[in-house]
């Protein structure tokens, strides 16, 4: 099977000749082994889930528009908060990042495809079925899961509805999907890099995904373990989370957050990689402090295993433990600060332009940092006693996940869309999308800090009268943010259907292998690996 090829200058013209035939019809998507097709499916799936989860958020905001019970029953409200969280975490953010990984990593490292292409397709196709089960459970007698996406025991064991078993098994198969996806990413990066693509030459998006994949492999099985214990506690008479049988409900929180905290880094490390790709392109400078970015990412990943109990300061842990978790948590601010510093330093004296991807990346830096700072406030044990389970926490993680993770995904889509479709997106519409999103998202989440500090509890369908004005304001922001995302869909459809043809490099300052292949990227890229100098 040895193929003699000539290197390296032939490469470019070699690429253009490749047969670019695609299978057609529905089986193209059902049977595909192509990383680009699978990446597209992941991204479309994530967008659909984003709108389903978003609709649930609209129901929540509608109910909270005014105090008192307005539109929905409390039990239904609880189902909405629960399924909104589950869908956004496991159905929107994670699949969107996996889709970007599928599309970009093989092209960035000069690989012909993902390492295990069939398993790649299996990972994807499990997801629609997993969420079908979750969504179907909403229509069962007694309703779907209503215990919060964190499914704390005993809410999910003693007090949960019949459908809990469906929730458990749907999480199981989501986990199988994530683990297989992560194995694929990690093996691709380890084994499929083109000759000369050494570790420290890899684009940061590849590095951050490599570390993310490691985190996924380490923690998704722990999630599988904890949902299994919930299942046996609820249906088979075990007492892992029941003190009468020698267990402890707090044990649930320990195991869950041992998964859950690395999970939040799973949702933000690839975002760091995206921003580290976009900022240098539009500042037309090399990324400042590449090596420190890699080390910072690795440090964050390692620390993420040592901070889980900062979610549990009010459970009555020994003081020593709370102090340990407080200091370990604050330590994470150091590598994160390194990253923010490097992004700002990259822009320093750069020749900047402000296309839509750059706008979202800039907004990411500012707003993610706000989310980071509120995280530091929450890390302070005594202060957390006041903040715990209030809207301050909701504000914190929505800054990190919406203006952090989701803004970075949107930035990545605008950044790479011309490479995917071969067409430039509509810049004017994109700017409209950006500004509408930026303003509405802050209307939506910033006031939550204030109502949270004043003591408004999260996950409750009603609230005290003094919070009424702020909540009306928040809800309007929420509706506007939801509507703004329709502009995004418009831009995507318009771009997929046509537009100004994109050049191979697309962006003037863009560097990397993905910008050396034609736009749109051929169905198969790098069937023979390029040589990286």
């Amino acid at each position: 099977m040895s193929v003699v090829i000539t290197e390296p200058n032939d490469q470019e013209h070699h690429e253009h000749d490749h047969h670019d035939h695609k299978p057609s019809g529905i089986t193209r998507w059902l049977y595909t082994t192509n990383h680009k097709d699978i990446g597209t499916m992941y991204l479309v799936f994530a967008l659909i889930m984003f709108f389903i989860g978003g609709t649930m958020a609209m129901v929540i905001r509608l109910e909270l528009f005014q105090p008192g019970m307005q539109f929905v029953e409390p039990h239904f409200f609880n189902q909405m908060t629960t399924v909104h969280g589950l869908i956004m975490v496991f159905g929107a953010v994670m699949p969107a990042f996996t889709g970007l990984a599928n599309w970009m990593i093989p092209m960035m490292i000069g690989a012909p495809d993902m390492a295990l292409p069939r398993m790649n397709n299996w990972s994807f196709w499990i997801l629609p079925f997993a969420f079908l089960i979750l969504l179907l459970s909403l229509f069962m007698p007694g309703g779907g899961p209503s215990f919060g996406w964190t499914f704390y025991a005993p809410l999910s064991t003693t007090y949960s509805g019949d459908s809990t078993a469906l929730f458990v098994f749907s999480v199981h198969i989501m986990g199988i999907s994530s683990i297989m996806g992560a194995i694929n990413v990690i093996v691709t990066i380890w084994n499929m890099r083109a000759p000369g693509m050494t570790w420290m030459k890899m684009p940061l998006f590849v590095w951050t995904w490599f570390i993310t994949a490691f985190l996924l492999i380490m923690v998704m099985p722990v999630l599988a373990g904890v949902v299994t214990m919930v299942l046996t506690d609820k249906y088979f008479g075990t007492s892992f989370f029941d003190a009468a049988g020698g267990g402890d409900p707090v044990l649930f929180q320990h195991i869950f957050w041992f998964f859950g905290h690395p999970e939040v880094y799973i949702m933000i490390l690839p975002a760091f990689g995206i921003v580290s790709a976009i900022i240098p392109t539009f500042a037309r400078k090399k990324l400042f402090g590449y090596a420190s970015m890699v080390y910072a990412t690795a440090s964050i990943a390692i620390l993420s295993f040592l901070v889980w109990a900062h979610h549990m300061f009010t459970t009555g842990m020994p003081v020593f433990a709370t102090l340990f978790f407080m200091y370990a948590t604050m330590l994470i601010a150091v590598p994160t600060g390194v990253k923010v510093f490097n992004w700002v330093a990259t822009m320093w004296r750069g020749a900047m332009t402000f296309e839509v991807p750059m706008m979202f990346a800039l907004a990411f830096i500012v707003l993610f940092t706000i989310g980071g700072f509120s995280g530091l406030m929450l890390a302070i044990t005594p202060a957390d006693f006041q903040y715990h389970d209030t809207y301050f926490v909701v504000a914190h993680f929505h800054y990190v996940l919406v203006t952090g993770a989701i803004f970075s995904i949107v930035a990545a889509v605008y950044y790479w869309l011309p490479k995917w479709t071969g067409n430039m997106y509509d810049e004017t519409l994109g700017q409209w999308h950006f500004w509408c999103s930026l303003i509405s998202v802050n209307l939506l989440f910033f006031p939550m800090h204030f109502v949270g500090l004043a003591g408004m509890p999260r996950r409750i369908p009603d609230y005290a009268l003094q919070f009424a004005d702020f909540n009306a304001f928040i809800s309007i922001g929420g509706f506007l943010f939801g509507l703004s995302q329709l502009i995004f869909v418009w831009v995507l459809i318009k771009c997929a259907r046509g537009g100004v043809k994109a050049t191979d490099q697309v962006w003037e300052g863009a560097e990397g292998l993905e910008w050396e292949v034609p736009s749109p990227a051929p169905y198969h890229t790098f069937e023979t690996p390029p040589v990286i100098k």
Binding site: V3, I186, A243, D248
Partner: protein, 293 residues
């Protein structure tokens, strides 16, 4: 201009098996969920049938998928780079399996070292102890729960010790099967592999016997408190993994009979062996932590 040799990485054409596998997992998850709900409410339903259908589709998928992979492998489509992908993939899969067991070992550690002591009034929990279960004695094995369920502990001598020996010996025989493969001693390979399979099956049989003994003689049940919970879930999941490992080894044995493996290329054998050794290591941890300590 440089000229170099490059082995092409095999990217398979379209394959129906992944989507079939996804459908199988859908039936399994949906069916298992409904089965659990039906059983808990003591009603009859379609859950069990869906679950069986799911497993049937899964077996269909595995047979088809592995047939493709074996054909591709036998016709020499796999480069050494591909082989590395498989090896790394399997290694990371085993890492994920280790973490799955870690969740249960972690729960056992927490329940025994922290939760049980707190229920017994240590740290700052004197009042909890006094007010809730003043008669509770925090001793491990937890044969009497705070709520009053009584049971007996499983001793480590006797059957569990024999089982440990069986599983350790099976790892050794598997190792000799591997050296037999590498040195092209086919007789040794077949004999040792068969012996490994028989030892695995014996282990499983004795494990079933131990469960019956636990339920009938010791009154040790899945629902008899934290000790029974961790005992049955850890040994149970381990048993499932032994079963899976044995099934894999069985298919490897058939492939050995067909002469599929060469001293240089035998990823499937290697992966099955890694998995078996991993299951063995889990058992040793389990034997020490669950049975002896």
């Amino acid at each position: 201009m440089t000229t170099k040799t490059y082995e092409k990485y095999y990217v398979p054409a379209q394959s129906p098996w992944p989507i079939v596998g996804a459908v199988a997992l859908f039936f399994i998850a949906f069916g298992a969920g409904h089965l659990v709900i039906d059983v808990s409410k003591q009603q009859s339903g379609f859950g069990g049938y869906l679950l069986l259908l799911g497993f049937a589709v899964l077996v269909f998928m595995l047979v088809g998928w592995f047939r493709n992979v074996i054909d591709e492998s036998m016709s020499g489509l796999y480069s050494s780079q591909m082989d590395r992908s498989f090896r790394q993939g399997m290694s990371w899969f085993i890492v994920s399996e280790v973490m799955f067991f870690m969740a249960f070992f972690g729960a056992l550690f927490y329940g025994r070292v922290i939760a049980m002591q707190w229920l017994g009034g240590s740290s700052n929990n004197a009042m909890t102890f006094e007010l809730l279960w003043p008669n509770f004695e925090p001793v491990w094995p937890l044969v009497k729960t705070p709520g009053g369920i009584e049971t007996q502990a499983m001793p480590w001598t006797g059957l569990p010790l024999i089982n440990t020996a069986i599983l350790v010996i099976s790892s050794v025989t598997l190792h000799f099967a591997h050296t037999g493969l590498e040195q092209q001693k086919r007789g040794q390979l077949k004999l040792m592999l068969l012996l490994t399979l028989l030892l695995g099956a014996t282990f499983l049989g004795l494990q079933v016997y131990e469960y019956i003994h636990a339920y009938q003689d010791l009154g040790l049940r899945l629902d008899s408190g934290f000790y029974g919970n961790t005992f049955f879930l850890l040994t149970g999941f381990h048993g499932l993994h032994v079963t899976l490992g044995a099934i894999i080894l069985l298919f490897v044995f058939f492939r050995v009979l067909k002469g599929h493996f060469t001293p240089e290329k035998h990823f499937a054998f290697q992966a099955a062996a890694w998995y078996w050794h991993f299951v063995d290591v889990v058992w040793i941890c389990l034997f020490v932590i669950v049975y002896i300590l």
